[in-house]
Amino acid sequence: MAEVVYEVDDLVKYYRGRAEPATDHVSLDIGRGEIFGILGDNGAGKSTLVRQLVNLLRPTSGVIRLFGEPVDRDPVRVARTVGYMPQSSAALNRLTVAEALYFVAHLRGLTRRDAVRERDAALETWRLGGIRGTSSSRLSGGQRRLLQLAIAMAGRLPVVVLDEPTNDLDPVNRKHVWEVLRAVNAEHGTTIIFITHDAIEAERIVQRVGIMRGGSFTAIGPPAELKRVLRNRMRLEVGFPGGRLPELPADLVYRRTSEDALVATVDAARVPSLLAELGPVDALDFRLYSATLEDLYLHYANGHQETDAH
């Protein structure tokens, strides 16, 4: 691994009044220039972990080092090094879009002139120019999310931590976000750590992924490496119009993803016979893929434990 940006060593976090730890003996290294994705169910402990990374929460025990220094030794150093995007999208919602970008860039140490340049560049990069004078409180959920992302990235800090960057975004903007993040990482070597539920799209840029369950990682590693456990599995998506579930083979274990769609992970060997059985059913729409990051996430989130692959 390249120079280590974050070293998390046996981190434990208990919230007052809760018997179960929100972070349960987490150890993790994140290298410089890495794009690291964190997946996990609601309540898995993802946000608690990243809030500790940016020093908003004090761990019960364990250490987090940023470029070799414990984060609680010099909190201002963390603030000068890490851009953070909170899950809440309303943090600066009394400022206009342009004001929010300018003030954050300036408070991150840019000169006033450079902060103006940074603001203008961010407005263009994140396609916010048309709403630059709009108060953040009047933005749609998606626009607000883009602004929060632009704010997190303002000031060109070496590390950014993003808590669910694509929530509330439409497919076009989600794609744009991943493209911008990949470009920023490639161009500036920015280390990007993000939480997402958008596993399929995150797969486009993520270099290493950690899957959390019950406060700890059940698997950490590059998606291709982790997906080896699913190499004999295929992802089958079935669409059916009208919201009426057709008669399906009894052995097909599936999950409804919408009114008119379901997804199943099946053995590769079962695919030909399964397609033959489904083929005669009218108006079904099939898509067959090799296992995706989402399948991997579901596999581990459902309780399969894997030795951490650092």
Partner: protein, 253 residues
């Protein structure tokens, strides 16, 4: 990518955070017209009608009480509302991830709301004195007394805003504090109209010191008591703002 980022100077932090907080005029001005201008003036009219015939001292108390009421609404209550809102929507968390000092956030917020409250203060003083027929005799010490009143009341508001669990709870607490401080002492009524026990109680009410100080610097005469008022207000402001910083969740150092 910048590896050698610097923490902005305290002045830069103050200016930026202050300007960010001044953007609150976008939502606060409508409320200011109602709670900072109309309510104190209506209170002055109503209490003035009751105090008619009780002499100039009673009328002076009505005016200064209305001014303190305007300061409480526009500083104590708005600052409480703003801190509880910032806490609820994650603004304080986000600011804590920027290289700024927590006390700069508090000071910039309090002073920004002071600036935003100036129109209400001026309207209440000018229109209130005209409506009640009080002749103003403004002392230069007004530039010391008004900021001290504002800092102490806003400090109480900041503390309530930080400690309240929700903006609704902060709203209830500030309303209760406003009513208690307004009537627990010689704020809108002169001391000779109050029972002895209430006068003793008023020694613990910041609004009594604020009203007394405001009365001396706007109507006169200024006496040695002003320094006691100023001292209590300064101590209260320092204590409340320090407690606010202490209670504020910030970078976990």
């Amino acid at each position: 990518m910048r590896m050698d980022t610097k923490r902005p100077t305290l002045i830069d932090q103050f200016v930026d955070l202050g300007l960010m907080q001044l953007s609150n005029w976008r939502w606060s001005w409508r409320g200011m017209v109602v709670t900072g201008m109309v309510t104190p003036l209506l209170s002055a009219l109503a209490m003035g009608a009751l105090a008619k015939g009780s002499g100039p001292a009673a009328i002076a108390h009505v005016l200064t009480g209305s001014i303190v009421l305007a300061l409480m609404f526009e500083n104590q209550n708005k600052v409480a509302q703003n801190f509880s809102f910032m806490k609820q929507v994650g603004t304080l968390d986000f600011l804590a991830t920027l290289p700024v000092h927590r006390f700069m956030v508090i000071v910039a917020t309090v002073l920004a709301f002071f600036v935003l409250s100036l129109p209400a203060l001026v309207v209440t003083v000018v229109a209130g004195s005209a409506l009640l027929g009080v002749t103003l005799s403004v002392s230069p010490l007004v530039v010391l007394v008004i900021p001290l009143c504002v800092l102490s009341l806003a400090g109480i508001g900041a503390f309530i805003g930080i400690t309240a669990r929700t903006p609704e709870e902060a709203g209830s607490l500030t309303l209760m504090a406003t009513i208690l401080m307004l009537f627990a002492g010689p704020v809108v009524l002169p001391p000779d109209r109050l029972p002895e026990w209430l006068l003793r109680l008023s020694d613990f009410s910041p609004s009594s010191y604020a009203a007394d100080a405001v009365r001396q610097v706007l109507i006169g005469p200024v006496t040695g008591r002003l320094w006691l008022d100023a001292g209590v207000l300064a101590a209260l402001a320092a204590l409340a703002l320090w407690f606010t910083g202490f209670k504020m969740q910030w970078k976990s150092a």
